[in-house]
Symmetry: C2
Subunit: 332 residues, 2 copies
């Protein structure tokens, strides 16, 4: 609905890739026409597991903004802001921490999985441990009603709703609306290695800023069917990353269907397919890359968009905080 407020965004821990495009950027370009959309560049959240690399996070704020503008996120339709520049988020986080128990945070399945993945063991930084509370502050500071997330992020929305409802109940006012999760149809793109998720840390990503050469190289190394040795061998289409990508990016579905038939029958080589995919991905990325380069060359322009988006967001978050402090008797 037009009245809905969307909060979405990214941790600026690296430039964005095709996985981001398929799973979220593409949808945001659509959402900005039907919702009031806020896009958060969550630098403080990125610092929770990059606190020793502040320069990296800082630089990536700009990189991510370039990606946004390049894919068609329109700053006249979407409000892009930098998390650390909204002090109200820190205030709200502190207030919300009273409404969540330590054991509840420990039970959060998303955080649990991430703690295992990062191998923190017993040395979990407290900031990382409680980032679901900080996310609740991100979402509620603009009173978002809709948050697009992957399946694995659903517990985060649940946590936000728990906090918002506790807040409304304890302070006896309906300050925050319920938040609805939208799980996009294609939430996740496999990596070039065929692994479940395209991700910077797994080194299996094609970036929106990759050159034609780099794309060619990455597609060349892409996972196909390991048993498809000779061209004449019949090959598997299921789990074959090249076909997964063709299904998503190749507009000629009839031709892709025919290629699948040939591949399964034998007589179609990986090289031919990969050449086709390289061209398709490059022709998809090429205009994004060109626009991105233009924005990248004009840092002042991009940072000004972030500055204005942040200022516009603060107008809203200041109102939210004033309302919150009012019911919490924190006005003197």
């Amino acid at each position: 609905m037009k009245n809905d407020i969307v909060l979405t965004g990214d941790r600026p821990s690296g430039p964005l890739h095709l996985g981001h495009y398929v799973g979220s950027l593409k949808n945001r370009v659509h959402y900005q026409d039907i919702y009031k959309q806020y896009i958060i560049i969550a630098d403080l959240q990125a610092l929770t597991d990059n606190y020793e690399h502040p320069h990296k996070v800082h630089d990536n704020v700009f990189q991510v903004a370039c990606d946004y503008l390049a894919v068609g996120i329109d700053p006249t339709k979407s409000t892009i802001f930098i998390q650390s520049q909204i002090p109200e988020i820190a205030d709200l986080t502190i207030y919300y921490l009273n409404l969540v128990t330590v054991s509840r945070l420990r039970r959060n399945p998303t955080v649990k999985t991430e703690i295992d993945q990062k191998g923190y063991g017993d040395a979990i930084p407290a900031g990382f441990f409680m980032y679901p509370v900080s996310q609740a502050a991100d979402i509620t500071c603009v009173k978002a009603t809709v948050v697009p997330v992957g399946e694995d992020q659903l517990p985060m929305i649940e946590q936000t709703n728990e906090i918002a409802r506790s807040f409304n109940r304890i302070y006896k006012k309906q300050v925050f609306p319920d938040v609805r999760a939208i799980v996009p149809e294609v939430a996740r793109l496999v990596g070039t290695d065929g692994k479940a998720k395209m991700s910077k840390s797994l080194g299996n990503a094609i970036y929106l800023s990759d050159s034609a050469d780099v794309i060619a190289q990455k597609v060349k190394g892409m996972y196909t069917d390991p048993n498809h040795i000779k061209v004449s061998d019949p090959g598997n289409v299921e789990g074959n990353t090249v076909f997964t990508y063709l299904d998503i990016f190749d507009p000629h579905t009839d031709e892709v269907a025919e290629l699948k038939r040939q591949y399964q029958a034998g007589g179609l080589g990986d090289m031919v397919l990969k050449k086709r995919l390289t061209e398709i991905i490059d022709s998809f990325i090429e205009p994004i890359r060109t626009r991105r380069q233009k924005f990248h060359n004009d840092k002042a322009y991009v940072m000004d968009i972030l500055k204005k988006g942040t200022a516009a967001t603060r107008e809203v978050t200041a109102k939210t905080l004033a309302e919150v402090q009012d019911v919490m008797c924190l006005k003197y």
Copy 2:
């Protein structure tokens, strides 16, 4: 040293009592002449275990301020501020949370004891769990170098120094000085029931705002020597609360020594002693109570002092935050 910056203060969870006076207020009146002294009214910290009672915390901010002014804390010498009105503290807390692990917080002896006392079991509010980090933000936001604490609070200072040193090391700049704890000689006054600590929650406190009648009543019920039944019985001076108080508040040390002798020999009744102590405590509290009433009747004046103190503090904390954000690359 005159260059030292002191941070001290209270959680506004109730009006202040004689225990506060002996353990800290008296020293603050002295410190304000030799140090630059900031006094924090820690309303957000009070909310960590009173989040369901925001009106109570709000009202106690004013009560505590009246107590301060009544005992002689001079707003032209000390800077009194309200924690929640310094947004920089929330920002710093969020940054510091990255520098502390969850297991480190769990090992904090002060918090451990308090968690047991409050009977939280597994349901420890996250805000309470991490209040040592928030305290580190309180202390460092004004770059305090000295913090007067009771013995039981020493782990808090240790935690603050750990955070400050980690920060300086990770962000490669000596932003924060080391903090030194001062443990006052008389850090703790026993309660009227003889229990180790005078405390609102134990119901064994004499308040700086108590009337003469209430004081008389409280002293009448004071713990003495349970085996001192008849006036002629010899009585114990050790652990006898009335003598503990006389030692602290009675300026006539010779007379007190003589009373002790008589009491130990037998022939001195509790009633006589308690009458003396009532007069001494009332004559001590009377001028405080009178000044307090005057301030209490002029809320606008008191709140204006807090407003000005908070504004003066923010001038300093804004500079600290700017320096912190600079080294953390959080300026855009």
